[in-house]
C-alpha cells in the first residue's frame, strides 16, 4: 500500500493505482474529469488531457515536483506523492485550455443532440469553458454515417476518446470501425460502409462521452430529462439482462446499461454490466421487462443540476448591477 495526498486529503491505495483512481476512492470534488479513460476498458486513457493534475511532490523518496501537468488516469501514484487538482490554479487554467481545444471544432448542436443532458462535454464546457469562442476559422465537418442499422455516428461531435474502438476490440469478435487519418483530420469511421453486426456493439453508445454515437431507435424521440429511468431486468441468454429502461408514461423509449456516477457501466453479477443489442434495441415493450423501480441517476449533468437557472440568476444579477 502507498500513501498519496490529493487536494490535502490523504489516502492509502494499492501500489500501481492511478492518480485518477486514487481520487475516485476519495470521491467528490477531488476527482478529475475523464473524457477518454474508462476503467472497464483496459488501454483507454491519456488522450483527452482533461484529467491533467499537478504533482507537487513526486514521492517520499524524490519529493521534487513534476515539471509538467500529468494525465492522472495513466500516471501511477508513488508513496508520498502530493497531487493538486481542485487546489491548483495551473490545473484550472490548463483544463480550461483543453476544454477550449475540445470545443473549437465541436458543432455545439446540443439543441438537436440526443446526448444533451447527459453529455460529459456539456458539463465540462459549463464548468471550464469560456462564454464565447475565439475560434474564427471554419469548423471541420463530416457527414453523419450509419454504423449498422442501429447506431448513428456524428463525427462532428466526436472528441476522439477511442473508447468505442476499445469496445469493438474487447467486447466484439470482429472490429469493423476504427481510427482513420491523422492529426486534425483524424476520424472514427468504417472507411467503407460496413455494418457493425454484433451482439455487443451497442455498448459503444454507452461509452461515448458525447453525442457522436447515438441509438437510432431513440433518435429525436425525447430529451433525456423528460424520461423516467427505471431499473429493469429480463431473462437474457446473452447478457445479465440488468438494464435501465427510460420511460415516458408506460412506454419504453430507450434501454441502456446501468451506469455509475462516472458514466461507466456498473458491475453486474461480478463483472462489467455490458448489455446485449437485443436488450438495448429490441425490447421496447414493458411486458418484456421486470421493472424493479426508479433508478437514481447521478445528477451530474448541467441540465439536471439546474445550473442553467443559477447561470440565469447570475446573469440577471450582473444586469442589475449594470455589468456587461
Amino acid at each position: 500500500m502507498v500513501k498519496v495526498t490529493i487536494d490535502d486529503i490523504q489516502i492509502e491505495v494499492e501500489e500501481g493505482t492511478s492518480i485518477l483512481n486514487a481520487a475516485r476512492l476519495i470521491g467528490g470534488e477531488v476527482v478529475p474529469p475523464a473524457m477518454c479513460y474508462y476503467s472497464k476498458l483496459p488501454g483507454t486513457g491519456g488522450k483527452c488531457r482533461t484529467c491533467l493534475v499537478e504533482v507537487a511532490a513526486g514521492s517520499e523518496k524524490d519529493p521534487r515536483p513534476m515539471p509538467k501537468l500529468v494525465a492522472s488516469c495513466s500516471t501511477p501514484v508513488q508513496d508520498g506523492m502530493i497531487v493538486k487538482n481542485k487546489t491548483s490554479e495551473k490545473v484550472h487554467t490548463n483544463r480550461g485550455a483543453v476544454v477550449e481545444f475540445l470545443l473549437i471544432n465541436h458543432p455545439l448542436d446540443c439543441p438537436v443532440c440526443d446526448q444533451a443532458g447527459e453529455c460529459h462535454l456539456q458539463d465540462l464546457g459549463f464548468e471550464h469553458g469560456a462564454e464565447g469562442t475565439r475560434y474564427e476559422e471554419e469548423r471541420r465537418t463530416f457527414d453523419p454515417i450509419d454504423i449498422g442499422n442501429k447506431i448513428k455516428l456524428h463525427m462532428n461531435r466526436c472528441i476522439l476518446c477511442y473508447r468505442c474502438v476499445h469496445v469493438a476490440d474487447q467486447l466484439t469478435e470482429k472490429r469493423v470501425h476504427g481510427v482513420l487519418n491523422r492529426g486534425e483530420h483524424t476520424e472514427i469511421s468504417t472507411y467503407i460502409e460496413a455494418a457493425v453486426e454484433n451482439d455487443f456493439s451497442g455498448n459503444m453508445i454507452d461509452v461515448c462521452p458525447v453525442g457522436a454515437l447515438t441509438d437510432k431507435t431513440f433518435r429525436f424521440k425525447s430529451r433525456v430529462w423528460f424520461l423516467k429511468p427505471m431499473e429493469a431486468s429480463c431473462e437474457c441468454t446473452k447478457c445479465s439482462g440488468k438494464t435501465v429502461v427510460w420511460m415516458f408514461g408506460n412506454e419504453i423509449y430507450r434501454v441502456t446499461a446501468r451506469k455509475d456516477k462516472y458514466g461507466e457501466v456498473e458491475d453486474q453479477d461480478g463483472k462489467a454490466g455490458w448489455i446485449c443489442n437485443d436488450c438495448r434495441f429490441e425490447k421496447k415493450d414493458p411486458a418484456q421487462w421486470n421493472i424493479i423501480g426508479p433508478r437514481t441517476i447521478n445528477r451530474h449533468s448541467v441540465i439536471s443540476q439546474g445550473k442553467y437557472s443559477t447561470a440565469r440568476a447570475n446573469t440577471q444579477k450582473k444586469i442589475e448591477n449594470g455589468d456587461k
Binding site: 488522450k47 488531457r49 500516471t75 481545444f101 475540445l102 473549437i104 491523422r182 492529426g183 483530420h185 483524424t186
Partner: protein, 446 residues
C-alpha cells in the same frame, strides 16, 4: 578544429562496401568489444565519453543505457532511430548512404553492451533507397561473420534488420517509432512505462539515433576518456551538422563541439557565409522545433559572449535569447526571407504531422496553422498575434509527447523576436503580399 571521427573516410570510393570499409579500420571496435571487453565495460566507456543523444534531446547515452531493465528470460531490443524528419536535418541520411557499415558496427557493439540479440534500424519510408544500401551492407556483414550466430567466436549472437516507416515525422518519437515498428499507427504511448522497461512488444528497449550509435565506434576504439577530451564541458565529441537554407555552401559537416557559430557560418572550411552575398537575418540552429534567433543573437549571446556550437552555448539565455543544438539542423535565413511566412510554413508542418491522438496537439496545431495562414496572407488582426501566444502556451507541456512543444516553440520564438514583422503584416496587409518586411534594423549583421 576539423577532427573527424565519423566522416574521416566518407569520400573514399567504395567505402559503402565491406572490403573497403574494413581496409580503412572498420569493425575494429567489434573485435575489441566482443573479444576483450565485457558488456558492462562497453557501457562504462560510453558513460565516460559523455556522449549525448544526437537525435535532438541530448540525453546522456550512457545513462539511457543504464536505465534498461534486465529481467531474466525477457529479450531486450536495440532500435536505431533512422526516422530523420526534423526539418533542416539530413545528416543521418548522409551517414547511412556513405557509411552503412559504420552504423552496423555501432549497432553490433551497442547491442552487445545492452544484451540485445535482435536489433532493428527503423528508417523513414522516404529513404527507401538507403534501406537498400543498408540491407546490402547487412548481407555482407552476415557473410563475413559480423552478424548472425556466435560473432567472431565470441558467443554473442545478433540479428540485424531494417524496417521502413510510411511517412510520419511523429515516428521519430521513440514510442511512436516502436508502435510503427510493430505495424501500427504511429501514436506515441503514454509514459510511464518507459521503453527501457516496456518497449518493443512489451520488452525492455533502447532507442538511439543513427549518429549516436555510430559515435560508439570511435568511443570504443579510442576510449571514452579520449572522446571526452574533444569538445567543451558537457558537449563532448564531434557533432554532425546539417546546414541548409540561404548558405553559400550548405551540406553536412562534422565539427568538434566548441567551434564558434560565426566560424561555422562564415569560415572557408565551413559554410562560407550567406548565399549570394546577402545578409544574415535569422538562424534556427537545431532543427525546426528549436527557437529561431535573430541575427544579433546568432554569433553572440545576449551577454555579448561568442556563441559556440555546443549544447550549452546555443541554449545560453534560455528561450528569452537562446535556442538549442537539437538535432543539428542548422537553417539560415537571409535578409529577404519573411519570418511570418516561415512560421506559418513550420506550423503547417506540425499540424500536418500531429498524430491527432491528444486534444491539445490535434486541435492546437491546426488552429495555429490557420491563424498564421491568415496573417501571412494579409487577413490577420493584431489580436491574432496574442491569440497565437495564448494557443502555444496552452499546447506546451499538455500533450502526450514532445510534438506539442516542438510545434509551440517556433511560433513563440518567432513572435518573441520578430513581433514587429507580424504587426507589419497586419498594418500593411496588401504590401505584405508583394514585398517582404526585410531585415530588422537592430539585428543587422554584416
Amino acid at each position: 578544429m576539423a577532427r573527424k571521427l565519423l566522416l574521416e573516410h566518407d569520400s573514399v570510393p567504395g567505402i559503402e562496401t565491406f572490403e573497403v570499409y574494413k581496409k580503412h579500420g572498420g569493425y575494429l571496435s567489434v573485435e575489441k568489444a566482443l573479444k576483450k571487453m565485457s558488456p558492462q565495460e562497453v557501457v562504462e566507456e560510453v558513460q565516460k565519453s559523455g556522449l549525448r543523444g544526437r537525435g535532438g534531446a541530448g540525453f546522456p547515452t550512457g545513462m539511457k543505457w543504464s536505465f534498461l531493465a534486465k529481467p531474466e528470460g525477457v529479450p531486450r531490443y536495440l532500435l536505431c532511430n533512422a526516422d530523420e524528419s526534423e526539418p533542416g536535418t539530413f545528416k543521418d541520411r548522409y551517414l547511412m548512404e556513405k557509411l552503412p557499415h559504420l552504423l552496423i558496427e555501432g549497432m553490433i557493439v551497442s547491442s552487445y553492451a545492452l544484451g540485445a540479440n535482435l536489433s532493428y534500424i527503423y528508417i523513414r519510408g522516404e529513404y527507401m533507397w538507403i534501406l537498400d544500401i543498408l540491407e546490402k551492407a547487412i548481407d555482407e556483414a552476415y557473410a563475413k561473420g559480423y552478424l548472425g550466430k556466435n560473432i567472431l567466436g565470441s558467443g554473442f549472437d545478433l540479428d540485424l534488420r531494417v524496417a521502413p516507416g510510411g511517412g510520419a515525422y511523429i515516428c521519430g518519437e521513440e514510442t511512436a517509432l516502436i508502435e510503427s515498428l510493430e505495424g501500427k499507427r504511429g501514436n506515441p504511448r503514454m509514459k510511464p512505462p518507459f521503453p527501457a522497461v516496456k518497449g518493443l512488444w512489451g520488452c525492455p528497449t533502447v532507442v538511439n539515433n543513427v549518429e549516436t550509435l555510430m559515435a560508439v565506434v570511435p568511443i570504443i576504439n579510442e576510449g571514452g576518456d579520449e572522446y571526452a577530451k574533444i569538445g567543451i564541458g558537457k558537449s563532448t565529441g564531434t557533432k554532425l551538422i546539417s546546414a541548409g537554407g540561404n548558405l553559400a555552401r550548405p551540406g553536412v559537416y562534422e565539427l568538434e563541439m566548441g567551434l564558434s557559430v560565426e566560424e561555422f557560418i562564415y569560415g572557408d572550411d565551413w559554410c562560407r557565409g550567406i548565399a549570394n552575398g546577402k545578409k544574415l537575418k535569422a538562424c534556427v540552429p537545431g532543427g525546426s522545433s528549436v527557437p529561431i534567433l535573430p541575427a544579433h543573437l546568432v554569433t553572440k549571446t545576449a551577454a555579448g559572449e561568442t556563441r559556440l556550437m555546443t549544447y550549452e552555448s546555443l541554449a545560453d539565455g534560455g528561450f528569452a535569447s537562446g535556442s538549442m543544438l537539437g538535432s543539428g539542423g542548422f537553417i539560415i535565413f537571409d535578409e529577404d526571407q519573411c519570418i511570418v511566412r516561415n512560421t506559418w510554413n513550420f506550423a503547417r508542418f506540425y499540424a500536418h504531422e500531429s498524430c491527432g491522438q491528444c486534444s491539445p496537439c490535434r486541435e492546437g496545431t491546426g488552429w495555429m496553422e490557420k491563424v498564421l495562414n491568415r496573417l501571412e496572407h494579409g487577413q490577420g488582426n493584431l489580436r491574432d498575434i496574442e491569440l497565437l501566444e495564448e494557443i502555444n502556451k496552452k499546447i506546451e507541456g499538455n500533450t502526450i509527447c514532445p510534438l506539442g512543444d516542438a510545434a509551440a516553440w517556433p511560433v513563440a520564438a518567432a513572435i518573441r523576436h520578430f513581433r514587429e514583422e507580424f504587426e507589419w503584416h497586419v498594418s500593411h496587409r496588401e504590401e505584405s503580399q508583394t514585398r517582404n518586411y526585410g531585415l530588422l534594423k537592430e539585428s543587422l549583421v554584416g
